[in-house]
């Protein structure tokens, strides 16, 4: 590695100016970190809440998903003819398909007998529905009529199903007024639209919801052969199938659901506003620190101008101070964010994660915050008059 640039290095003026007053530096770092943590939390909550809406979507074992064009989201799904799904098998790229019914049904809490809306999924137990390990073994039990798999991450209002099931107790209750038996537990998680979930066979589903036509499904799962391009196949299918069905890739299906919640609720706006508040707080803190730093050192900057230093080189000193503050402020914010995310995940089951997008986005925001504030503080540098120092 070539270290020749070190031979021509200059005195690290920005670093020395910042560290001359350690207390002020600590206050600045604390302020920036606080702003960073605020942004991490707000954006984390926002993304976490959006992610909850697609928990099941992500678990579906499919490359392509067929839905009705009239469907708006998982809480407002319309049916389409099941034969459209069968028609997809005409393509060589399609390996297998799985029809799925989806609707909200009333679950009776077996403990207090109160009813509550639960999201029910009906599929053929011989098909692959979810990517979960061991799911197909559990699904086998659904071949018996009236059997359901209950989502153990459902809200407690549905009853102590997990506790009773693990204790070996037989759980019988009603769904849509018809008797069902809990045959197993799955892990899906609540979402915006559903406080709880259950999975059953199509046969049971149609028995629970007889109004649903037998030839109509809400979701069609398509698994492609290895090496197939989902985008390409979805284009072919969209062009070849009638307009009563829409073909999405799995990622498009996830985005379809997220976009519904982003555009139809104020959640995105509220949490983005929270992140903006953090950004503004950070800007004010950094600006105050850098402005007072520049003001404090104005005679020294004027001296450097008198010695022949360019005004631009002094601007760079302030810019470097801004960059260093961004770096030092971001790191504690990142690590604190990790810890807080972990605490929130454990206490609320919200899928709040520190992904690369968020990590980079907030670093860029902190950088803009610090560099922007440095840019404004630089205006004070223009006041440095070398003639006044004699």
């Amino acid at each position: 590695m070539n270290f020749s640039f070190l031979k021509f290095r200059k005195i690290p003026l920005a670093w020395l100016l910042l560290t001359r007053q350690p207390l002020r530096l600590i206050v600045a770092i604390a302020g920036i970190s606080f702003a960073g943590i605020l942004m991490f939390m707000q954006l984390g909550f926002r993304d976490g809440l959006f992610d909850t809406s697609v928990t099941i979507h992500k678990l579906l074992d499919a490359d392509l998903v067929l839905i009705s064009p009239r469907s708006k989201s998982s809480i407002s799904m319309s049916g389409f003819p099941k034969r459209r799904l069968i028609q997809t098998l005409a393509l060589d790229e399609v390996e297998k398909t799985a029809p799925v019914n989806l609707n909200y049904l009333l679950w009776r809490n077996p403990e207090n007998l109160k009813t509550r809306s639960i999201l029910a999924l009906g599929f053929n137990p011989s098909d692959s529905l979810l990517l979960n390990d061991g799911f197909s073994r559990k699904a086998y039990s659904l071949n018996n009529p009236g059997r359901v798999l209950f989502d153990k991450l459902s809200r407690p209002e549905f009853g102590p199903i997990e506790e009773w099931f693990l204790s070996g107790q037989k759980i019988e209750t009603e769904v849509a007024g018809k008797r069902v038996i809990v045959a197993g537990l799955v892990e899906l998680g609540p979402s915006f639209g559903a406080d709880g979930n259950l999975i059953t066979s199509r046969e049971t589903f149609l028995r629970l919801f007889p109004a649903n036509p037998r030839g109509s499904i809400e979701i069609g799962l398509v698994k492609l052969r290895k090496g197939s391009n989902p985008e390409f196949v979805s284009k072919i299918l969209n062009n070849s199938l009638p307009n009563d069905v829409r073909v999405l890739t799995k990622n498009q299906f996830i985005e379809f659901e997220k976009n519904y919640w982003k555009n139809s609720t104020a959640i995105g706006f509220i949490f983005s506003l929270g992140a903006l508040m953090g950004f503004v707080v950070g800007c004010v803190v950094v600006y105050q620190i850098l402005y007072s730093d520049v003001t404090d050192h104005l005679p020294e900057y004027a001296t450097l101008l008198a010695m022949g230093y360019k005004l631009n080189s002094l601007f760079f000193v302030v810019a470097r101070e801004g960059f260093l503050l961004a770096l030092f402020g971001y790191l504690p914010a990142y690590f604190s964010g990790q810890i807080l995310y972990s605490i929130i995940r454990q206490s609320t089951r919200l899928p709040i994660i520190m992904d690369a997008d968020k990590t980079i986005l907030i670093f860029i925001l902190v950088l803009i915050m610090c560099m922007g504030s440095a840019g404004i503080a630089m205006r004070k540098l223009v006041d440095a008059d070398p003639a006044e120092i004699f």
């Binding site: 031979k7 010695m307 120092i389 004699f390």
Partner: protein, 243 residues
């Protein structure tokens, strides 16, 4: 001592360091307008050590800042190191200042830098030198002003006289062709003051650097090539070969 080449300095023909003709300067506007320099005429030759004396408020510092390219020239002609400063751009003046060493009455050291780093801020202006060479220049000048034991001290750990010597070393470290000093010996005892002026005089002779110094210090008058007196914005008498 490592000596660097200042590219900006190399382009200039230093036949006449400073030439001033009918230089006037004003502060304020309209009825508040006050004339501080009144048709000043002056020339400083290479290697000359010139002292400027005069009462407070007579225009000495204004003249110093004009020669130092720190202010724009309003009226008259001012040529410094062959650069005509009438109407000179900010960039021209900034470049010229790299060839001028300045010693301020209030030393104006950077508080976050050690003595060595403060001096190195001067030698950093010399292009083409490595960090170690620039540091060596700084150390040599600090030794020259008697501060070899104080390289690593911050200004807050130095006495007033020591700070002033650091400021002098900083001004000298950039290989100036003209040195402007405002009361450089005021904070120094007589022995150190004379040592510093001796050093400046030696620099003037050996490196053909002109020194223009505002001072009230009578202890160093005998070391000047010329002493100028200023009053009410005019240089009213010139004593050549005074001593």
């Amino acid at each position: 001592m490592v000596k660097g080449k200042n590219k900006a300095s190399n382009k200039i023909n230093y036949s006449n360091t400073v030439s001033i003709n009918n230089l006037s300067h004003f502060y304020g506007r309209n009825e508040n307008k006050k004339q501080v320099l009144n048709n000043v005429n002056l020339s400083i030759q290479k290697s000359e050590l010139v002292l400027l004396k005069g009462p407070s408020g007579c225009g000495k510092t204004t003249l110093l800042t004009l020669i130092g390219a720190l202010r724009t020239c309003q009226s008259g002609n001012l040529t410094v190191l062959n650069n005509q400063l009438n109407g000179a751009s900010r960039k021209t003046r900034q470049k010229l200042r790299r060839s001028i060493g300045m010693i301020f009455q209030g030393h104006n050291l950077l508080r976050c830098l050690t003595a060595e780093q403060n001096v190195q801020m001067g030698s950093d202006l010399i292009k083409g030198l490595t960090y170690l060479q620039r540091r060596e220049i700084a150390r040599n000048w600090l030794s020259a002003v008697g501060l070899e034991e104080h390289y690593k001290k911050l200004p807050s750990d130095l006495s007033g006289g020591q700070k002033q010597r650091v400021a002098i070393a900083r001004a000298l470290s950039a290989n100036p062709k003209l040195l402007l000093a405002d009361e450089p010996t005021s904070a120094l005892d007589s022995v150190t003051g004379r040592e510093i002026v001796t050093l400046l005089r030696k620099l003037a002779k050996e490196q053909r650097c002109s020194v223009f110094m505002v001072t009230h210090d009578p202890r160093i008058s005998d070391m000047a090539d010329r002493i100028l007196n200023m009053e009410d914005g005019k240089i009213f008498s010139t004593h050549s070969e005074l001593v």
